[in-house]
Amino acid sequence: MSVEMKRTKKSKEPLIRTVKRTELSGQKAVLLRIAALLAALVAGGIFILAIGYNPVLVYKTMISGAFRSKLAFQGTVKVLIPLLITSLGVTLAFKMKFWNIGAEGQLIMGAVFASYFALFHDTLPHWILMILMVLGGMLGGGLMGLLPAYFKSKFNTNETLFTLMLNYIALNFVVYLREGPWRDPNSPGYAKIARFSKNAQLDKVFGIHAGWIIAIVILIFVSIYLYVTKRGYEISVVGESQATAKYAGMNVKKIVLRTMFLSGGICGIAGMIEASGSAVTLTSGIAGGVGFTAIIVAWLGGLNPFYIFIVASLFSIMEKGSSVVESTFGLSGACADVLQGIILFFVLGCEFFVRYQFVTRKERGARA
């Protein structure tokens, strides 16, 4: 006893240590995140100030740039559509703690499958073609999601690394199609895939391609799926603890496969929309990093479809607005990426304070 006492006296307790705290109330947690967002904007502002520009003016231009005209607003929504859908797609996987980093590849494969119908079956009636393209997109993305899920459930293959590799396999597959079998013979210069015919393009509704309607449908679907259905409940149980899920008699393997097919499938639909509504062809830049940004959006939104919608909107405004900042101030359009990065760094940091707190040596002594 006495020896032990001596020993504990000798070893000093660290000055600051981390302890878990009881979960913050929802309102406080939201306030904390808003504070982090503001802090990030201030930090970004200091950076802008440091290079000799007026941060308030830059931010103002960014926001007004996203809304200043009907055309600008439509542009913002066009950025939002794929980002929102893909974020919702990865959310399903993330809820299950399946680290699907492969949204980019799933989106591309969805676009490839949809493009097949657009390029080679464009004589079908418009509505049938559209439905086939959506289903094709879903199948393409879904299979891309299913592959790592199969190996994960069978051999415990690391899904983070597997899905990451699939992104680049899918990307190079598009390059192959572009330079090989799907190359447009009417384009004598550089290799590209032919533009879709009018019949294979998404209709415009209120001036924006109908992808926004699909996005809203998916937003509602994912919300219901996650919070109302039994399957959504199963996802969260598997995410919390596979052992619990097994004990409760759930078929974990089946749930993982099904959810990953759905997760990839939703990302694939985003690919179909991008190909058919936005690019009107299949390009190697069809995903353009959306798959990666979506992961960040899903995480920032706390895997909650409603918050994801808000965060995705915010990111789209920054993306669109920074192109106006580029033309107005001569600052690179990459400032959206920088700002998004800073915001996320701050929010990731603040998440910590939702769950934990620091206590100093003194405080702790007083408490004990």
């Binding site: 981390t18 051999f155 690394l161 590799m165 990459a334 920088v338 990065g341 910590f352």
Partner: protein, 317 residues
């Protein structure tokens, strides 16, 4: 024959930026942190190395700046994932988006300030970056071009890899490092300062990635600034970590193979018509197969450190 030698020499040089990224990622993963920000850290390293190189005209200072900038970027990651226990995948991806964006932003800004509208490294520093030419040695047939004909980065990369191997396999701190990656709680109980070593290794890894970034701008782009200069090499580096089975020495040979794959399409006889995209896909395809194969054989030796991807909180057991 001379074609073959040239191919090997080009492959080795071409694999070098990947080697740096891989080495940085290996020691990061060895302490249990999967940092998907390799691409971003390389971009920041490239930017800092380039800017310092341009203003000081010193190759050494440029390398140091690249290292420091990469390490600083990794420090952001370390603060968020080690101290604030944020999700590693998300933090790493953010670092990539932020890093690439930041580098492009700075480059664009500097071009706007420059008079000529282009940014180019001065003559003195480019002379130092050139392939070495040792009187007598470099002229020996076969051996000369294969051993004594590279730019300095190649030698730095190989030496770094060997040093890391020594560090991880032959020193006590290296053993401690590996223990942290496998089981941080056990390492903590054994008296290893988990947090401290996580920070040191992650920052060191980021610095090494930064030097790889400097390679992309100084050698691949011949010292002329372009946007997105890393161009996805960081992701190939992450793939190579798996291919090399988390071993720095195997990473050397792996980087030669990946470098060869990157160059193969320029050397294949015209009679063989394999689509060019296939060569670009190969590194990822091979890595995927290796990933699946190691998971099927459940080989402990060649797999990711056990605790990689999960943060360690001392009071959570």
């Amino acid at each position: 024959m001379s074609m073959l030698i040239k191919f090997i020499a080009v492959s080795i040089a071409s694999g070098t930026p990947i080697l740096f990224g891989t080495l940085g990622e290996i020691i990061t993963e060895k302490v249990g942190h999967l940092n998907l920000g390799v691409e971003g850290m390389m971009a920041i390293g490239a930017c800092a190395g380039f800017m310092v190189g341009m203003s000081t005209d010193s190759f050494l200072l440029a390398l140091l700046a690249a290292f420091a900038a990469g390490a600083f970027a990794a420090l952001i990651y370390a603060v968020l994932t080690v101290t604030f226990m944020a999700n590693q995948n998300v933090t790493g991806l953010t670092l990539t988006i932020f890093g690439v964006g930041f580098a492009n932003f700075c480059g664009y800004y500097a071009i706007g300030k420059s008079e000529s509208g282009t940014l180019k490294l001065p003559e003195n520093i480019t002379a130092q970056m050139r392939n070495i030419n040792i009187e007598g040695l470099s002229d020996i047939p076969v051996i000369g071009p294969l051993l004594f004909s590279y730019n300095p980065f190649v030698y730095i990369g190989i030496v770094t890899a060997l040093l890391l191997w020594f560090y991880l396999r032959r020193t006590k701190t290296g053993l401690n490092t590996r223990a942290i990656g496998e089981n941080p709680a056990a390492a903590d109980a054994a008296g290893i300062k988990v947090t401290k070593w996580k920070y040191i290794n992650i920052c060191l890894g980021g610095g090494i990635c930064g030097i790889g970034g400097a390679y992309t701008i100084m050698i691949i782009n011949k010292g002329v600034w372009i946007s997105d200069c890393v161009g996805g090499l960081g992701w190939i580096a992450v793939a190579l970590v798996i291919f090399a089975g988390w071993s720095p020495v195997k990473a050397i040979f792996g980087s030669f193979i990946f470098g060869a794959l990157r160059q193969l399409k320029y050397y294949v006889p015209a009679a063989i018509t394999i689509p060019g995209a296939f060569y670009d896909m190969l590194p990822y395809l091979i890595t995927t197969i290796v990933l699946i194969a190691t998971s099927i054989r459940t080989s402990r030796e060649k797999s990711q450190p056990e605790a990689c991807g999960t943060n360690y909180f001392r009071e959570e057991r």
